[in-house]
Amino acid sequence: MNTFPFSDWLVAAIFAVTIATTVVGALIAAFTKRIIRSVCGLAICSLGLAGLFYFLNSPFLALMEVLIYIGAVCVTIIFGVMLAEPDEPTPENFVKPFPVIAPLVSLAIGAGVFLGIAKLSLGHDWQTAAAGTVSDGSVHDIGVALLTTYSVPFELISLVLLVAILGALVIARTGRNKE
């Protein structure tokens, strides 16, 4: 038994807060007009996702989520926003081709995907008794697995990152030479 009286409900409240952070962040990222607010929404969503990873017994991935998504991806996108100025004012004579139908259709597609997959995932009991019988997923086990079982993909991903850095430099540089 727990010694603290309402600890179950406290954990449930923290879980609800992480889910709310994820959902609200995703909504901000998709629905706001200005791109910079959308980037902030992505950062909020990543923070909530880090909390969900923590609830899924992986504090290591929670830390990595904050480091990589908030610390690297969001900051890189903000640099792109600064360099490319995506928030140009819409011209006066701009007429939307389908002012009513287009938002409804995209909303229907998004809601359809969400409701369909949610109904599928609610209709089945996914828990198996074999979960966690081989390894409990500690950081030590992750390190050992990365250097033994997954050593080839581990090296390949460093190669992919190297090629991505070189490719990004080359693409951004050729545009500069043209002017």
């Binding site: 995703a26 992505l42 991935l61 996108i77 949610a118 390894s135 992750i142 990152l161 002017e179």
Partner: protein
């Protein structure tokens, strides 16, 4: 299902992941600029990694598998963002705009 034990139910995580996927697809359709579409793509990546982690926690005998898969997804997402932003900046230099409506020529 006890609401206080919701965090130990895989369906809760799967529904949140489905929501992220739906919002990401909605944003991918609705956004008019390339950076907005890139952000929606990141939401879809997040949905995939949440699904990996949920099934890893509740169904996998070896709990390191899903965590390593999500680590690789994060690495690929970082590489994708770097490439996409350099392409966006190159496009902006040529067109002075990154609105997806303006990008209608194959050879500038």
């Amino acid at each position: 299902m006890n609401p206080a034990q919701l965090y130990s139910q895989p369906a809760a995580y799967l529904v949140v992941a489905a929501f992220l996927l739906g919002v990401g697809i909605f944003g991918l359709i609705r956004r008019r600029t390339l950076i907005g579409m890139l952000i929606s793509g990141e939401l879809i990546f997040a949905a995939a990694s949440l699904n990996f982690m949920a099934f890893n926690r509740f169904a996998a005998p070896d709990q390191t598998v899903g965590q390593i898969a999500v680590l690789f997804i994060m690495g690929l997402a970082a590489a994708e963002v770097a490439i996409a932003l350099s392409i966006i900046i190159a496009v902006y230099r040529n067109y002075r705009s990154i609105s997806s409506k303006e990008l209608n020529e194959l050879k500038g």
